[in-house]
């Protein structure tokens, strides 16, 4: 339970705002160069990977290396570049296409649709039961606030399937929320985008991605059509698993808090900050590991300052931690393995109606 007074929440907001302003003042050429370097590595990884897939005529190991490089390229594109650019972290560069308005990424989900469900819904209503649909993705029961249903019994299998097909899950997320194909429309959901537009974006982007990975590139390497197709499929699956795992470790670990909608009505900026800190979890690792997660290993910092360049999060983390300690706010961080273990635990625990431990709720 967290009982900060509204005055304390206000000073917390001021402190975090000052921290953001100090960092924002430092953002400049260095960050632009960093993004450019990541882009360069991503392009090189993708194209070396695609070429190495052809190496199967000499050795299957070359093919495997190709698959891994292609997956690396896709992971960098989705996590460190796409996710962060679409958050507007690099909008200050005024770059013609590396901005949150125009960027499109190598994933089945249309960037605009993702911005609505992720940037808006998830980041505004983080871990509010019933409002943040990212909490369980409408498929998994991750807290006692959800009624137990029979299908939760096998939700671990659902989880494995979701991780394998994660890009399609993300892509379908908004259409599921809007009940475009199935289910009865919800009266309390408001959307500025029509179902027709949603369908068009879903099928348009999905089709382009399918054409690219399973038709165009395999056809370009025609005698090796099947090998290239399988290579692309495998790279996509690796990317799916990686992104799903990183995201699950950011919000579904054992110690994250969930919130009730009524407690967050007309919340102050300080309360929003507090909720972001309690609803997210970090994990530790070397620098390359942070980069592969798109710096979502610093999920707490990301949720506090979603529009600051992500490469600044590791330097912000100790300062945020110090602030958290001063206000006695739990700072949920641990090794990747430990955090992931608690995620799996949570999925398994809440698949049963009984035996569920009391949920941390503010």
């Amino acid at each position: 339970m967290h009982n900060l007074t509204s005055q304390q929440l206000d000073t917390l907001a001021t402190e975090l705002d000052t921290l953001a302003a100090q960092t924002r003042a430092k953002v400049g050429a260095e960050d632009a160069r960093y993004l450019e370097r990541v882009l360069l590595v991503q392009r090189l990884a993708v194209w070396t990977g695609r070429l190495l897939l052809l190496g199967i005529i000499w050795s299957p190991w070359l093919w495997l290396l190709g698959v891994l490089l292609l997956a690396l390229g896709k992971i960098l594109d989705n996590m460190e570049i796409g996710h962060n650019v679409l958050h507007g972290q690099y909008d200050w560069m005024q770059h013609p296409y590396l901005n949150s308005r125009q960027f499109e990424w190598d994933i089945a989900c249309d960037a605009k649709s993702w911005q609505r469900t992720h940037n808006f819904e998830h980041h505004t209503y983080t871990n509010i039961i019933g409002k943040d649909r990212d909490f369980g993705y409408g498929l998994l029961r991750l807290s006692n606030d959800f009624r137990w249903r029979l299908r939760n019994l096998w939700q671990f299998v659902t989880y494995l399937l979701l991780s394998t097909l994660f890009q399609w899950g993300v892509s379908y997320h908004e259409l599921a929320a809007q009940r475009v194909f199935f289910g009865k429309k919800k009266n309390d959901r408001h959307s500025q985008v029509s179902d027709h537009e949603l369908k068009k974006a879903f099928f348009g982007k999905g089709l382009r991605q399918l054409c690219k990975d399973y038709l165009l590139f395999p056809l370009l390497c025609f005698p090796l059509f099947f090998e290239v197709l399988v290579g692309n499929l495998l790279a996509n699956i690796i990317r799916n698993w990686w992104t799903a795992t990183v995201i699950f470790c950011g919000h579904f670990t054992k110690d994250v808090y969930v919130f009730a909608a009524k407690d967050c009505e007309n919340e102050s900026r300080g309360h929003w900050y507090l909720r972001q800190m309690l609803g997210s979890s970090n994990f530790t690792g070397p620098r390359w590991f942070h980069i592969l997660t798109g710096h979502l290993s610093c999920q707490i910092e990301h949720h506090l300052f979603p529009d600051l360049p992500a490469c600044r999060y590791p330097e912000l983390a100790p300062q945020v931690r110090a602030i958290a300690e001063r206000y006695q706010i739990p700072y949920n961080s641990g090794s990747f393995i430990r955090q992931y273990a608690t995620v799996l635990q949570r999925i398994l625990r809440y698949s049963l109606p009984a035996g569920a431990a009391p949920q941390r709720q503010m």
């Binding site: 705002d17 953001a20 302003a21 924002r24 400049g28 050429a29 260095e30 960050d31 632009a32 160069r33 450019e36 882009l39 360069l40 392009r43 090189l44 594109d77 679409l86 958050h87 507007g88 909008d91 200050w92 560069m93 005024q94 770059h95 013609p96 296409y97 901005n99 949150s100 308005r101 125009q102 499109e104 990424w105 190598d106 605009k112 911005q115 609505r116 940037n119 808006f120 980041h123 505004t124 500025q192 382009r208 054409c211 690219k212 165009l216 590139f217 900026r269 929003w272 979603p306 529009d307």
Partner: protein, 396 residues
């Protein structure tokens, strides 16, 4: 008939080219997830050519020289830059600390210089508060990456008509390009140029030279630091003198004269009003700078959505003002997190309510939900389409 057939054939051809371009764009979008091949490979190309930016015309900054409150930039634009009509302006983007900062400036050098040497001169006033001009002055020796747009604008001299040109401060820049590019003058032209202090007299050597070259050209220089300001009476006198000069050259056509006004926004508005009282019907004007609204004062916002242009008075939060005016901009969190309401600002200054940061006056991206308009503002609200992308990639 033949002509019509010819026209139809061209449009058919154009349609085919358009179709091919569309197919190519779709292929790029499919295979590379980017609308352009060159923007996808930009990071690789920049390894060898660090100044390269896909879709932008790079320009070499040959020299920067300061004259009191002004900077003269000598630029050599890349091959993609087509020529310009003297008097036109262009958008200059400069990479400063990783960001592309953009502002609009008039070309001040004659066309002949561009045709002979491929260079352009931009003359800009150093604004104490505006980022770009101040930074350019401070970092004059550095190797900065610059980009220019194609020249645009219709503030150009009609050589068939007599002209009364009234300019102040850096408003002289397009007029200098116009007059220096002339090869002959058949109509009387009268230039009235106000400046503050002899040090701020721009292109001082050009004026006697131009006067000697063109007998029909009259130049009045008004130094407002030592003498009086240019007044309505002086305008009337200048107009009368021009009419007299015209009358003396009875052989010339008796077409009415055009008034050209170029200067700060208040200056242009003032002389446009005066032109009406003098009975000058045709006015061409170009103004720059912006009027800073006093705290809490409403400012005019022009917003384009679904091809519709809406003008409204905005006070306080931009998103709310736009909604009150009946527009429906996209929005999300309404607290500056989600970037749903991000739109393109083509001109004007805004303040970020969260950080207190004041934007540059040029083109840029604006989060409506946390912005307040400080000056007259132009916004582009439409969600991104391919054409919008093309436009911005050229202008941003």
């Amino acid at each position: 008939m033949v002509q019509i057939q010819g026209k139809a054939a061209i449009t058919k051809n154009q349609a085919f080219v358009h179709f091919l371009t569309k197919c190519w764009r779709w292929c790029c979008k499919m295979a590379l997830v980017q609308p352009r091949l060159c923007s996808y490979f930009e990071p690789l190309i920049r390894l060898f050519n660090p100044g390269y930016r896909a879709g932008l015309i790079s320009a070499q900054l040959l020299s920067v020289s300061q004259q009191q409150d002004y900077l003269h930039l000598l630029l050599k634009p890349g091959k993609k830059f087509r020529a310009f009509v003297p008097g036109q302006h262009l958008q200059l983007s400069v990479e400063l600390d990783g960001a592309l900062v953009q502002r609009t400036f008039s070309i001040s050098s004659p066309l002949q210089q561009f045709l002979a040497q491929g260079t352009l001169q931009l003359t800009l006033k150093i604004q104490p508060h505006a980022g770009l001009t101040r930074q350019l002055a401070a970092r004059a020796g550095e190797n900065l990456f610059c980009y220019v747009s194609q020249a645009q604008g219709d503030f150009v001299l009609d050589q068939q008509r007599s002209a009364l040109i009234v300019v102040a401060g850096s408003g002289i820049t397009p007029v200098h390009a116009m007059l220096c590019s002339l090869s002959r003058l058949t109509q009387p032209v009268r230039l009235i140029y106000s400046y503050r202090g002899a040090d701020n007299l721009l292109f001082a050597s050009s004026w006697p030279e131009l006067k000697a070259r063109f007998p029909l050209l009259q130049i009045e220089l008004w130094d407002t630091s030592s003498g009086p300001r240019f007044s309505a009476a002086a305008l009337a006198a200048a107009f009368a003198a021009l009419q007299q000069q015209k009358a003396a050259q009875a052989a010339l056509q008796a077409e009415p004269c055009i008034l050209y006004v170029c200067g700060p926004l208040t200056f242009s508005q003032q002389w446009q009003q005066q032109a009406k009282t003098l009975g000058i019907l045709q006015v061409r004007q170009e103004s720059f700078g912006c009027l800073n609204a006093a705290d809490g004062e409403a400012v005019t916002v022009t917003a384009r959505q679904h091809g519709r242009l809406v003008q409204l008075q905005s006070q306080g939060n931009l998103l709310q003002s736009l909604e009150q005016a009946g527009l429906s901009p996209r929005y999300g969190c309404r607290r500056g997190i989600c970037m749903q309401c991000l739109c393109i600002k083509t001109a004007g200054q805004v303040r970020n309510e969260l950080t207190g940061q004041i934007s540059d006056t040029g083109a840029g991206l604006v989060q409506l939900c946390i912005s307040t308009a400080l000056t007259k503002l132009e916004l582009q609200l439409d969600a991104v389409s391919t054409t919008a992308q093309d436009n911005t990639s050229c202008t941003t």
